[in-house]
């Protein structure tokens, strides 16, 4: 038996480090590239009209995607309204009440599976229960399908964030004579606040860019919606349709809409980071 040479060990260490760092930098590289392309192509489409006008037929000057922006915001809003409270409550159950129970284990498993279901299947499912039976597409169905996507993400982050609160604080909150739910709401939530807000923001960012679930539910529309009970314009399906079209000006609009979504998602992520960062300092 001879001792391994120090040199070869160091070389291996260096190689692994360099390769893994290269892989990590790949992430930054692609984000940079995507941003570059989207900004380069999309920025020309952005104008005041883009945010304040309705779409025009191909070949006609002007027009915008105001209806799609409003539709996306509204449907994301519905999803947040439905998905966040249910997700948070489910997370509370997983972390606090059902942590070691059999039901808890089942719910946790279900949530994980739900998170892995391709969004197009969620869209199809909602189509079969909220679109087909009523005979028309609707913004409400779109919101619901986004909510179903949001629910497991929020439930999981809530569970994770609450689980990160040390048991010492949980014990202290209960030792003062709190009922469990009250200890959770007034002490544990506060301790986990930044993580919870971050989780919600990231889940909003996640669903605001979804296309597939809307394709079968809200569809899209060139008009300003009058209610949520009709097809509702939205940015992602607009991108899908406009980018596939043979018209240059529509393609341009698709890039513009992409830019709007990218910036929104980026801003939501930055906000989430700021919240977490502010907490750490």
């Amino acid at each position: 038996m001879t001792p391994r040479s120090d040199k070869s060990r160091k070389l291996l260490d260096f190689t692994v480090k360099a390769v893994s760092m290269g892989a990590a930098l790949l992430g930054i590289f692609f984000l940079g590239w995507i941003l570059f392309v989207v900004i380069q192509r999309g920025v020309a489409a952005i104008s005041w009209d883009f945010f304040t006008k309705l779409p025009t037929p191909p070949g006609m000057e002007g027009g915008g995607v105001m209806n799609a922006i409003i539709g996306t915001v509204l449907m994301t809003g519905i999803a947040t309204l439905l998905g966040v409270p249910t997700g948070v409550l489910a997370g509370v159950y997983l972390a606090e009440f059902g942590k070691h129970t059999r039901l808890g284990a089942w719910v946790r498993f279900t949530v994980n599976v739900l998170m892995g279901i391709p969004s197009i299947i969620i869209g199809l499912f909602v189509y079969s229960i909220l679109v087909f039976p009523f005979g028309h597409f609707s913004g409400l169905a779109g919101g619901v399908s986004l909510a179903i996507l949001m629910f497991p993400v929020v439930a999981r982050t809530t569970e994770d964030m609450l689980s990160m609160v040390p048991n010492a604080l949980r014990e202290a909150a209960l030792a003062i004579g709190n009922p469990r739910w009250m200890a959770t709401l007034s002490i544990l939530f506060r301790a986990a606040k930044s993580g919870l807000i971050t989780g919600v923001l990231l889940s909003v960012a996640r669903v605001s860019g979804e296309t597939a679930p809307l394709l079968f539910t809200a569809l899209n529309s060139p008009y300003m919606m009058k209610s949520l009970n009709e097809p509702v314009a939205n940015l992602t399906v607009t991108i899908y349709q406009y980018a596939m079209s043979p018209y240059d000006d529509w393609n341009q609009v698709a890039w513009g809409a992409s830019l709007v979504i990218m910036i929104t998602v980026l801003l939501l992520n930055l906000t989430a980071r700021l919240i977490v960062g502010g907490k750490k300092r």
């Binding site: 010492a168 003062i176 004579g177």
Partner: protein, 297 residues
């Protein structure tokens, strides 16, 4: 009358006899000297039990951690719980407020009588129990709230009162915890921004604000500096009388300094229990003697 005082008496009288021939004055002086201790012993021994553990067994899953514990916590006195690390001190007092039930796999068997009623009964109102039996933990655990709100929180939880009374009670609890002077300008600052010793006194303030009958302290000074430790000890001594205190400590000096009674735990058994003066000067069990003389632990 306790053996410790008796032993002291024998010693003193023998000394007196050695120095010179019988002298009544000496005996009178010795009597007077011992009288004080005798009275204190008598008073301590006469204190009724506020809380009594009866045949208490405890299990972590399948692992038994406490064996047939029997212990009386005397009303208005300080009872110290000592013993080597891992002997079950924390486990024992964590039964008194049933905080162990937070964990699904922990189980207590036997009885703990609080004013004669078994608090382990399933019908016990845990919220009321925990108001009556407060707990201070090893590591300070301020709530993520302001200094003021840390104390006001429990008061709001258990009592309805006008804002002015709330302010008064918060202030008085902070004063009792010997913290008010240090934090009176920082009442709006987060509790976690205080020093470790201050945080621990904040936790004490927040607990005594509820006027519990019993105060459980699990090594309350092991995570704070000596000066803060002294403050917490003084605090415990000043609170005794109004509160019944059970304090877990790994410091025998601390037990000797502040407690009236001491229970010595070893491997989940209560080996010896009695007046602190007695247990430290005249231990009955070999294991107790070995522990207090520092032969292990």
């Amino acid at each position: 009358m306790t053996a410790a005082t008796d032993a002291a008496e024998r010693l003193l009288r023998r000394r007196a006899a050695e120095v010179e021939e019988e002298d009544d004055d000496d005996n009178v002086r010795i009597d007077a000297f011992l009288h004080h201790f005798r009275e204190e012993d008598k008073e301590d021994e006469a204190a009724p039990a506020k809380l009594s553990a009866r045949n208490l067994n405890f299990y972590y899953g399948g692992q038994q951690a406490l064996f047939e514990n029997n212990l009386d916590i005397a009303e208005g006195k300080i009872t110290a719980i000592i013993g080597p690390s891992g002997c079950g001190k924390s486990t024992h007092i964590r039964i008194y407020n049933r905080i162990f039930e937070l964990y699904g796999n922990q189980r207590a068997e036997g009885e703990v009588l609080l004013d004669g009623k078994n608090l382990l009964d399933p019908g016990t109102d845990l919220i009321e129990l925990r108001r009556r039996v407060g707990m201070i933990f090893q590591k300070p655990t301020p709530f993520p709230l302001s200094v003021f709100e840390n104390v006001a929180y429990g008061l709001r939880l258990h009592f309805k009162m006008p804002k002015s009374e709330l302010n008064g009670r918060v202030e008085s609890a902070l004063k009792k915890a010997a913290l008010f002077e240090e934090v009176k300008d920082k009442l709006d600052k987060p509790g976690v921004a205080l020093s470790g010793g201050q945080q621990q006194r904040l936790c004490i303030a927040r607990t005594i604000a509820l006027e519990p009958e019993i105060l459980l302290m699990d090594e309350p000074t092991s995570a704070i500096d000596p000066v803060a430790t002294r403050k917490v000890e003084e605090l415990a001594e000043s609170l005794k009388g109004n509160f019944t205190i059970a304090i877990v400590t790994h410091s025998m000096q601390q037990a000797a300094r502040i407690s009236d009674f001491t229970a010595f735990f070893y491997k989940g058994h209560i080996v010896e229990y009695g007046l602190t003066r007695e247990l430290f000067t005249n231990p009955k069990q070999k294991q107790t003697e070995d522990y207090i003389t520092g032969r292990f632990g």
